[in-house]
């Protein structure tokens, strides 16, 4: 019940945020929400499946490129490009999962990295299709039910709605019997096999599901920027997502959201004041790992409980 109250309060603040802040912060909040969906999808693999991936930007980038190319090359409308991009990217995740899940641990990490580098290289070099380093321009935002999303506030609320539904569906997923199997496979894969679970299949389904939500983040990403560049498929993008999950707290629902906020605020806000913002980002991660190795959300909870315990023992 307490958790539901917190979620309600948090959502209310987010809904009313555009009414009390300027366009710059509304846009920054939109980027945080998009990155939160991306980080939450990585969290399905890392936090709940114990599968560290360095290739998740593939799904974000491919969905964004699919949507852009279908729109620019074939002239399709958003109502057609969005489901086609999602379906195509999810199918690609299914294929990549077949390859990457042949290994576990470092092998899995390297396979996801290798596959994403193939896509990144292709996006850079296939100039005829992707316009290479120039990226694809001239894209538009959709207008669901006639609502113009070119307005920063309207786009923010649209993103917030998609983000809320995404996080809710991911939360349902990990709280389900299947989610219990996934967490069991993370902790004791051999025992789970001995209990009758097909550990490989559990991981593969999760890989595909995470790929789907990575694709959703990709659509929001391309709608926001109205531009797509090969850097969206890069290792840096995957690593930032992974760091957001670790910094926020892997295996928690709020962790990736907090981690996404940390990364995006440092990247897009602090960077306008500090030239070497990458250094600051690194420093912040070092501090988090030293003082809250479990991540900001579980770490803050631990400190709060400790303080409360001290306070109650005094009184």
């Amino acid at each position: 019940m307490k958790k539901k109250v917190w979620i309600f309060v948090f959502l209310t603040i987010l809904i009313f945020l555009p009414l009390i802040s300027g366009e710059f912060f509304v846009n920054l909040a939109s980027q945080v929400l998009i990155f939160a969906v991306f980080a939450a999808s990585i969290n399905l693999l890392l936090g709940y499946g114990g599968l560290a991936t360095l290739g998740h930007a593939s799904y974000l980038g491919v969905a964004a490129y699919c949507s852009a190319l279908l729109s620019l090359k074939l002239g399709l409308a958003h109502w057609a490009t969005a489901p086609l991009a999602l379906a195509g990217t999810t199918a690609m995740a299914a294929l990549f999962g077949l390859i990457a899940l042949r290994a576990s641990g470092l092998g899995f990490l390297m396979l996801t990295l290798a596959l994403s580098q193939v896509l990144w290289g292709t996006a850079y070099r296939w100039v005829g299709l992707t316009d290479g380093d120039n990226g694809l321009r001239g894209l538009t935002r959709p207008a669901p039910f006639g609502i113009n999303l070119d307005d920063a506030r309207a786009f923010y609320w649209f993103t917030l709605a998609v983000c809320a539904v995404s996080i809710w569906l991911m939360a349902r997923f990990v709280d389900s019997p299947f989610g219990a199997a996934l967490k069991g496979a993370r902790d004791q894969p051999r025992r789970m096999s001995a209990l009758g679970y097909d550990v490989w299949l559990v991981r593969w389904i999760t890989f595909v599901y995470a790929g789907f939500w990575g694709a959703v983040a990709g659509l929001l990403f391309v709608y926001y920027h109205k531009y797509i560049h090969p850097i969206s498929l890069s290792l840096t993008n995957s690593a930032e997502g992974l760091l957001a999950v670790i910094a926020g707290g892997s295996g928690t629902l709020a962790g990736p959201i907090a981690g996404a906020a940390i990364v995006m605020v440092l990247k897009n806000y602090v960077s306008s004041y500090i030239e070497r913002w990458n250094m600051l980002l690194g420093f912040v991660f070092v501090l988090i790992v030293v003082f809250m190795p479990e991540g900001v959300v579980p770490g803050a909870k631990r400190i709060y409980l400790r303080c409360r315990q001290r306070f109650t023992s005094r009184t």
Binding site: P177, A180, A181, Q188, R190, A194, L195, G196
Partner: protein, 246 residues
């Protein structure tokens, strides 16, 4: 009568070192079979081959007449094979009842449900309570496994295997590391396993194990060297030579 478990000429080598060197054994339905042998005899390797944790180099494994040697571990479980582990393999952060629920879910189609809440699985939690009552741990159902004593964890291992409603149950040293009192309670628990379950057990506590078993197989360097009832095995000079030490 068709054997519950039939192993024929099973072979497995690790880098040229044979761990199972043509093992053959046949266990009748409902039988209590004890596997003994000195350290390195290949007892746990044999269990791992039967469960599918290891792939045999050659040989066959039949469960109630059905060839299972090429099936994945989880598929063999769905054919009625369950096991416990020599080194306790539980989910220490989770509650006892959650451990049992995972065991119950493993054979249920509900394990694929990705959108129902675990909190809606009241029936499963009810069943878990009943199973925990069988092993005398229902009062600890909500406690994390990490907080349990070693002997209680052993009982949870057995409870998880029983929750799978197995036809053939493999117990890998269920009494290892237990105090005398704990051994008594686990022994009682194993003794109460219904007769329709075939039990194959590896155990080093000879006094207890020999009392519980109807037939005994002695392994040495991956080979079956003696097989028979208690009197036959104890009297056999090969057993005395390799295992009993006199």
């Amino acid at each position: 009568m068709q054997a519950a478990l039939h192993v024929q000429d099973l072979r497995k080598a690790f880098g040229g070192l044979p761990a199972a060197n043509g093992v053959s054994l046949s266990v009748a339905p409902g039988e209590r079979r004890l596997i003994i042998g000195p350290n390195g005899a290949g007892k746990t390797t044999l269990f791992n081959l039967i469960t599918g944790d290891l792939v045999p180099d050659s040989g066959s494994i039949r469960l109630f007449g059905e060839e299972v040697s090429r099936l994945a571990t989880h598929r063999r479980v769905h054919k009625g094979l369950a096991r416990t582990f020599q080194i306790i393999t539980l989910f220490p952060k989770d509650s006892l009842e959650h451990n049992i629920v995972l065991s119950l879910l493993g054979l249920s189609k509900a394990r694929w449900n990705a959108f129902a809440s675990m909190r809606d699985s009241a029936a499963l939690y009810g069943d878990a309570q009943r199973i925990l009552a069988v092993v005398g741990l229902e009062h600890l159902a909500k406690r994390p496994v990490a907080e349990l004593a070693y002997g209680e964890k052993r009982r949870v291992e057995i409870a998880m295997a029983l929750a799978q409603k197995p036809r053939v149950l493999l117990l890998d040293e269920p009494l290892a590391g237990l105090s005398r009192e704990e051994r008594g309670s686990v022994r009682q628990l194993i003794g109460a396993i219904p007769r329709e379950v075939t039990v194959v057990m590896i155990e080093h506590d000879m006094d207890t194990a020999l009392d519980m078993a109807e037939r005994i197989t002695v392994l040495h360097y991956g080979c079956v060297i003696v097989e028979g009832n208690r009197a036959e095995v104890v009297a056999d000079p090969k057993t005395r030579e390799v295992y009993l030490g006199h």
